[in-house]
């Protein structure tokens, strides 16, 4: 077998650069490689806006990368989603959530890997509002967001 040509290519990418300052585990989920039914629970004060992170580093092999992600929420009322993205390193996904109204919300992150596998992580976010301050609610959010 003779080589005709060989080369490598690089792309200059508009990778998502928005950082997430979630330093604890309140809205950062370390996705389990073993328990795929694990639900990450969060309780937020109404009026908060922060990122919800699905960290797949411990759930996928070292060479795998996330190529696309879908974020879904059940009704978009208690929590409003925005700005779905894949974080630097292509092994974490995030979406901004606004704690909009007292109540619970189910969300899930569907990460498609470069080998075609899809890993789903579910979240339950409970929004608390007692005592109730006069925080104006934002509008209901979308039910589905995708990135890129």
């Amino acid at each position: 077998m003779a080589l005709i040509l060989s080369f490598a290519t690089e792309a200059n990418a508009d990778l998502p650069t928005a950082s997430c300052d979630e330093i604890g585990r309140a809205t950062r989920c370390y996705v389990s490689a073993h328990d795929r039914m694990r639900v990450h629970g969060s309780r937020l004060v109404r009026g908060e806006k922060r990122c919800l992170v699905a960290d797949y580093n411990g759930a996928i092999s070292a060479g795998r990368m996330i190529v696309s992600v879908i974020w879904r929420c059940y009704d978009g009322y208690a929590v409003a989603m925005s700005n779905a993205r894949i974080l630097d390193g292509l092994r974490q996904a995030a979406v901004d959530i606004s704690a909009n109204w007292p109540g619970g919300e189910w969300l899930q992150c569907e990460a498609t890997l470069d080998n075609g596998e899809v890993y789903v992580q579910r979240f339950r976010v409970d929004v608390r509002d007692y005592p109730c301050f006069d925080v104006p609610p934002v509008v209901s959010g979308p039910l589905v967001l995708t990135a890129p």
């Binding site: 005709i4 060989s6 490598a8």
Partner: protein, 146 residues
């Protein structure tokens, strides 16, 4: 902005124009570590192999006995999110290669993608951005093909 191997974005569309006919001789999607084999259009009974190794290097190989001066063009689909692309490192092979860079804006410096000829360069189809090339490589010997 960061530069990364195109295949770090996931599987990429690869097209091979190997024989100077009127269409791509092979098109498909390859990820790191994958290869595809197809009949060599210029050498009966021989096969061409296009492969991507685990580091993302694309290679075109043949088992034909005489391949010097072959017209070989390779295009790799522009990854999602990418705004421009480039060929990095030395291009190795049977002959020196002429390299043109392609950007998402469609600038390709006269290198073909489909149709056209050496004197009338091919252009990407703006309506089909997913098929814009990341890089087009033609061996200097003869890359007219169209």
């Amino acid at each position: 902005m960061t530069w990364a191997n195109a295949f770090d974005f996931g599987p990429q569309e690869v097209k091979v124009w190997a024989g100077g006919a009127s269409a791509w001789d092979w098109t498909g999607t390859l990820a790191k570590g994958e290869e595809a084999q197809f009949a060599d259009p210029l050498s009966a009974g021989a096969n061409l192999t296009v492969s991507v190794d685990t580091s993302g290097v694309v290679s075109l190989l043949t088992d034909a006995a005489d391949f010097a001066g072959r017209d070989a063009i390779v295009a790799v689909g522009l990854p999602a999110n990418a705004t421009s692309a480039r060929v990095v490192g030395a291009i190795t092979g049977a002959a020196s290669a002429l390299v043109q860079q392609v950007t998402a804006a469609g600038s390709q410096d006269g290198f073909p993608l489909s149709g056209g000829s050496a004197s009338s360069p091919w252009t990407p189809n703006p309506a089909d951005a997913s098929h814009w090339p990341l890089a087009l490589i033609g061996l200097e010997a003869n890359w007219s093909g169209g």
